[in-house]
């Protein structure tokens, strides 16, 4: 099998396993897996910026949170019929990304990191102060269960499948975009922006498009969060979530998309599964993991896998 086909088969296999999880796994663990999928989609959308376009963002949780608030607010006040809240979340994330991205993508590198950090914090403050819509520091609670063909989805397994559906759609969009000529232009901008400009491409437009797309997918993930947790708090839109998403991308290996999923799984497992046993101080472990990862895994898990594959290829057949 060619590496491409092998990858496709592996993805299909992973999808089958993921789809069958509620049939074999207890509800609590299924819920954690759903949270991993949500966070993984956030991380993958961030990877489009960090790994593929070369724009390290520390404010990506803003669009995730906006999507979650939008989906939650819509579910409470208008309709909870699937997939309307998810679409609303994606749209809200994309609009917010467009409204702030035109400023952010003028810069690159560390400057971009600083700007997105500032933008993310400002959106966080808006969420905290706009109590009539977001519930302020109490959070937006009482989000009704998502309804499918008229009846609400209450069982953990059904909600999981709903989340999995959102994840597959979001991941597929990012996969297709990353493999398209558009994705190639983004990589070109990452590697050599002046050359892309001299070839006639407008880096500003491409970067803005990538930023809006990433914001939209992050909003979709936020919509999934509103459906799964049925509670949105300011923690979901804040700095820590943004930092953890970046951590997931870095640990997983920027630019590979699937690496970010592995990183996200590790982050959620430490934060949600291990965290309660540590008095909620999971971020301590994550911070240490982060420091370690920067030193020893410059290319993340994906880099590790890349080394193994290369070694195998170098051996004579």
């Amino acid at each position: 099998m060619t590496p491409g086909r092998l990858g496709g088969a592996a993805q299909l296999g992973v999808l089958c396993i993921l789809a069958s999880v509620p049939l074999f796994v207890a509800p609590y663990e299924t819920g954690i897996l759903a949270r991993i999928l949500i966070f993984a989609l956030l991380a993958v959308s961030l990877d489009l910026l960090v790994g593929i376009t070369g724009l390290p963002s520390l404010g990506h949780a803003a669009y995730f949170g906006i999507g979650a608030y939008a989906a939650g607010w819509l579910s409470i006040n208008v309709t909870a019929a699937a997939p309307v809240p998810l679409l609303a979340g994606a749209a809200a994330g994309a609009v917010a990304a467009a409204a702030t991205g035109w400023l952010a993508v003028r810069s690159t590198g560390i400057f971009f990191l600083m700007l997105t950090l500032a933008i993310g914090e400002l959106i966080f403050q808006v969420a905290q102060n706009w109590e009539s819509v977001t519930g302020g520091s109490n959070g937006l609670f009482g989000i009704p269960a998502v309804s499918f063909a008229g009846s609400p989805l209450r069982l953990v397994g059904y909600v999981y499948w709903y989340v999995l559906g959102g994840f597959v759609v979001g991941y597929a969009v990012l996969r297709v975009v990353s493999g398209s000529p558009f994705g190639a232009v983004l990589r070109g901008i990452r590697d050599n922006e002046p050359r892309m400009r001299s070839l006639g491409y407008s880096p500003f437009r491409y970067k803005l498009a990538a930023y809006v797309l990433a914001g939209g997918i992050a909003g979709l993930a936020g919509g999934m969060l509103a459906a799964q947790a049925r509670l949105v708090t300011t923690a979901d839109i804040g700095f820590t979530t943004a930092a953890l998403a970046l951590l997931a991308v870095v640990i997983g290996g920027a630019g590979t998309l699937w690496g970010a999923c592995l990183g996200a799984a590790l982050v959620v497992l430490v934060r949600d599964a291990l965290g309660p046993r540590l008095d909620g101080h999971g971020p301590l472990i994550l911070g240490l993991v982060f420091i370690l990862a920067v030193y020893v895994l410059p290319r993340g898990f994906a880099g590790l896998a890349g080394v193994l594959v290369r070694r195998r290829r170098e051996q004579p057949a």
């Binding site: 520390l58 590198g109 990191l113 951590l247 870095v250 982060f290 420091i291």
Partner: protein, 295 residues
């Protein structure tokens, strides 16, 4: 016009007090970044260390020895932490600058969590030293004496930093390193030692700011992020590596934070973003940024 000043005097003074604090905080961040391209995301965590040291020594009672001890230990602890950060980023010197920023982000997460474990999640009070812990009359308004002192101290520190950077041999070295690090290195100056010294001083200033800000903001989780964001906005507006820029930016953001909040409370969060956006559109490198500054 006079009447307008009269009604908003307290907000304007508050803006200057916040501006003083921001300058002490942002000048270190700006020089470290402008000089070494190291974005120190742990800068807010250093401020938080200072704030908790302030609580430790001046939390229960209001006393000069307590407050001065807090200032002294914070300056030492900050400089030490800056040295550690410098050593930690050294192995990453040949890697992309982003990796160093990520490392400091990890350090910031760890430090903030350790402080939360040690001191809990409540916002703790820090007392102003005696004599400054009361209010005084300013043109008919009552105003906390401590904040007036902070404004004065901020001006003093700004003057000191200005004299050191602009008028001494050490300052010339710092400015030369901001302008062209490789050339300074080629002239026989050990880059790593300059970086160590600058990070130590910058981090010491951040921790000092934490103690000084204590009587206004207290000490609590989340404070590190807030001050880091404000300092970053100041640095971006002022221009990287420019002390003058940090000074003007700090005064500007101080007023946006205080006067802006008082005049249009609903739009306060947007005004910070608006100020940032406006400056970056008109002058993408900040108000006093060098035209060739690294991107």
């Amino acid at each position: 016009m006079v009447g307008w000043f009269g009604t908003n005097l307290v907000s304007i003074l508050n803006g200057f007090a916040i501006g003083s604090l921001l300058f002490i905080l942002a000048s270190g961040l700006s020089i470290v970044f402008g000089m070494m391209d190291v974005l120190n995301l742990a800068h807010g965590a250093l401020y938080l260390i200072g704030a908790y040291l302030g609580y430790q020594f001046a939390g229960d009672t209001s006393s000069w020895p307590g407050f001065l001890t807090a200032l002294g230990t914070a300056a030492l602890a900050g400089m030490l932490a800056g040295g550690v950060l410098s050593t930690m980023t050294e192995p990453l010197a040949r890697r992309p600058h982003l990796d160093q920023a990520l490392l400091t982000l990890g350090v910031a997460l760890v430090v903030a969590e350790l402080l939360a474990i040690g001191y809990g999640n409540d916002v703790l009070r820090v007392n102003a030293p005696p004599g400054l812990n009361r209010s005084v009359q300013v043109f008919g308004d009552t105003y906390p004496a401590y904040r007036l002192a902070l404004i004065g101290l901020g001006a003093l520190i700004a003057l000191a930093v200005y004299v050191v950077v602009e008028r001494t041999a050490v300052g010339a070295l710092v400015r030369a390193s901001v302008a062209d690090r490789e050339m300074v290195s080629a002239l026989g100056v050990d880059n790593r030692r300059v970086k160590l010294a600058v990070l130590a001083v910058g981090s010491g200033l951040a921790a000092l700011a934490g103690v000084l800000g204590g009587p206004i903001y207290g000490a609590g989780p989340g404070l590190d992020e807030r001050v880091l964001i404000l300092a970053l906005v100041v640095v971006v507006i002022g221009g990287l590596g420019s002390i003058k820029g940090a000074f003007v930016g700090a005064l500007l953001i101080g007023q946006v934070e205080s006067l802006g909040r008082a005049l249009v409370p609903d739009l306060a969060s947007f005004m910070l973003f608006g100020a940032l956006a406006l400056v970056l559109i008109v002058r993408p490198r900040g108000l006093f940024g060098a035209p060739k500054a690294a991107v």
